[in-house]
């Protein structure tokens, strides 16, 4: 199917037609953004974040940031078709892709849905313009899948709140200005009922960020410690003790973004820079382009890329029309994990010995293919694991019985917890 665009003249509200917007974006991109580098950046580090902020600032000044966010909060007030057109035009340019997830597509989207008017006015323009980077402070050393079991404690002190505890696996917390932090505010009720979500400035006194090194050598993961961190009541997102509602919305945006269904993600999903090696080139370079099994793998990768886009369109419109529940975004999340495996595994197989030793660690078809292979599961854990996605699909989409839970209906203080 060709691109889902609705062309036509400006409507009564003066919305720019998609095709005009596309042409304007095309011209602007050509003048203002450098082409994407052939090799991915490898490790995401301080300079990557700095560069991303600069690029986002440029896109914002050029009038192409926050396409699907309302104008009053610093966005453009346009629709997914406009974003889609921009994404197509932006393929091949260097883009601040690291800002998409979680900053824009998850954190900003959640604030837009559930933040107060003041919060939206105060925080969204900063995210959209690239001034502020946000992270997610959800998972804890005690568990990520069982997210409602968090034990980071929030206590009310008059007008303020005090936060104590620790979060882990927080991507890019070291580079972030703010985080959405899920805490336990009430221990006397069952686990889902005693949670509160906060906007937490990472530069606030009492916050310490430690970086964690990953299997592929990257260290964008962090553990974050809170020691008597003071937050004003205005930092609560959603209602006190109703943080699970906020977290659920946030997780919806996360699954959607992980699956490729978010209208807030800006830039192409399969860009040269964002994705691995050119497998066809790699097969040629390694003398295997004539090999039938290698050709099958090239085709498989292509199949999964195309089907992924088609699936995003299908599930997206089915959720929009109410034919499927929003939980169906887990279908996208699950498929995207499978697509990643197909691609990483193919790259590793085709690269052969090149992926494990040699002169070029930075080459996407060589060292990077090896590193991606090692960290293959990251995409199946981050954004909620594929097992949890399967639980959601079977229970919330197909309506199958919920898993037994020993903590249902039990005051959280009486719930058994593991030692980790």
């Amino acid at each position: 199917m060709s691109t889902a665009t609705s062309t036509g003249t400006a409507d009564a509200t003066g919305t720019e037609p998609v095709e005009e917007f596309r042409l304007r974006a095309r011209a602007w991109l050509a003048e203002n953004l450098p082409p994407a580098a052939d090799t991915p950046a490898g490790n995401i580090d301080d300079d990557v974040w700095l560069r991303a902020r600069v690029l986002q600032g440029r896109i914002h000044a050029g009038g192409f940031a926050g396409i699907c966010f309302p104008k009053e909060y610093g966005g453009l007030g346009l629709g997914p078709d406009h974003q889609h057109a921009f994404n197509e035009e932006a393929a091949g340019y260097e883009l601040p892709i690291v800002l998409n997830v979680p900053s824009v597509a998850i954190c900003a989207a959640t604030i837009l849905d559930l933040g107060t008017e003041e919060q939206k006015k105060q925080y969204l323009p900063g995210i959209i313009s690239g001034r502020d980077v946000w992270c997610q402070l959800l998972s804890e050393p005690g568990g990520g899948s069982d997210l409602a079991g968090v034990i980071t404690k929030s206590e009310r002190n008059g007008e303020d709140w005090t936060i104590n505890g620790s979060k882990v696996w927080s991507s890019a917390a070291y580079a972030a200005d703010y985080g959405l932090c899920l805490t336990r505010s009430n221990w006397d009720v069952p686990k889902h009922s005693g949670l509160t979500m906060f906007i937490l400035p990472l530069k606030a006194p009492g916050v310490t960020v430690h970086r964690i090194k990953l299997v592929n050598g990257a260290n964008e993961f962090c553990q974050v410690f809170f020691d008597d961190v003071r937050l004003p009541a205005g930092n609560v997102v959603g209602a006190v003790d109703d943080g699970w509602a906020t977290a659920s919305q946030q997780l919806f945006h996360e699954r959607n973004a992980m699956g490729g269904g978010s209208p807030y993600v800006s830039g192409p999903r399969f860009s040269k820079a964002a994705h691995g090696p050119n497998l066809l080139e790699l097969a040629r370079e390694t003398g295997q382009l004539g090999d039938t099994s290698v050709r099958d793998q090239l085709a498989d990768v292509r199949i999964m890329q195309v089907v992924s886009k088609q699936l995003v369109r299908r599930i997206g419109s089915a959720i929009a029309t109410g034919e499927l529940t929003p939980q169906a975004s887990s279908i996208l999340r699950l498929f995207e994990a499978e697509r990643t495996w197909t691609e990483y595994d193919a790259a590793f197989r085709i690269a052969g010995a090149n992926a494990v030793a040699g002169p070029s660690l930075q080459d996407p078809g060589h060292g990077q293919a090896g590193l991606r292979y090692l960290s293959r599961q990251a995409g199946s854990l981050g954004g909620g694991s594929t097992e949890i996605a399967r639980n959601i699909i079977s229970e919330r989409v197909l309506g199958m019985p919920r898993e037994a839970a020993a903590d249902r209906g039990v005051a959280f203080k009486d719930v058994k917890r593991g030692g980790a």
Binding site: S2, R295, I303, Q310, E323, E387, E395, V397, M400
Partner: protein, 377 residues
Amino acid sequence: MDSDLTPDQKTFRDTTRNFLNKTSSSPQIRALADSGAGTDRTWWSQGAELGWTAMLVPEDLGGGTVSGEPLRDLCLVAREFGRTCAPGPLLTTSAVLTGLAAAGEAHAEAIEAIMTGDSLASWAFYEPSRGWDSSTPGTAADPLPGGGFTLSGTKDRVEAGESADLFLVTAHSPGGPVQVLVPRDTPGLSVTPSWSLDATRRFATLSFAGAVVPPGAVVQRGEAAREAVETQLHNTALLAAAEMTGALQAMFDVTVQWMFDRYTFGRPLASYQALKHRMADNKTAMEACLATTAGAAGALDSGAPDAHEMVSIAKAYVGDKVPAILQDFVQLHGGLGVTWEHDLHLYLRRTACDRALYGTPDEHRRRIAATLEGNAA
């Protein structure tokens, strides 16, 4: 998703669905399978009246679409065929009509007869041990003075071959590929029924030994014929994919229901996480099958430059997934799943056929790789 169908398309789909529910229920399909008979021509004519044969024929030749998107419309029919394992020669007839319509006016009469169901036509393309590569048919068309041909060679896996009145035969002449229309009673043509994995679809082998084809029976030659054959193959591969998705949808619902109804160790199958997770994977793959089939239909209808690649992607993906998932459904049904009584095998048979016909997943993967290589060059 069905929410993006026009009201006309919905009506069209529902009419077909109601008709098939009435005429192709499981007992009816089983009776037909037991009888060994091929296509019921009265039934097929009724289907033709519902519009199944009109979509690929332009309006000036008496055809017409529901929505202006012939392949999307036709995929709706194919999906309903899949849902009931309906027995009609939908795929092969569509291939023939694609080829005849590409040649325009000249074959208006044959088109008309096929559209009404008065004439049953089948595409004779496949040849023993040659695969679904359309480039070099081994069947020879030797030119006769005056523009006709004599045919010699063997065609295989010809759907509804035994009952068809007319064959669109893809052959090779010294001047390149040709397609010719050959009536069943042509001297020098013999038709031998073959076995079929499908319960109701019948196939045959055609042998041509100097069968004479008059000039008026030539449909297309040369580059035009080559292009037409490719389009026939892609249209038909797409319909096979759509049929498989329909079969998958039907059996998915049956299996989910079964998982709620069947209890082991005091709880329903649907409550076991190991099984729930498999159904989550199956659901995801099913949505992906529906998405890619719709994507390919849209690409063909809009004449997108990558339409043939989109079809190969759909046929390869759906062909790999659907029979494998149906096998999983068999497993989830336990012993019941491997009985003749349960309908699952009817669907497994149908989708196994659809997977293997009009390009296997492997053959389509090879096309995709070639396209990638071509695009990169």
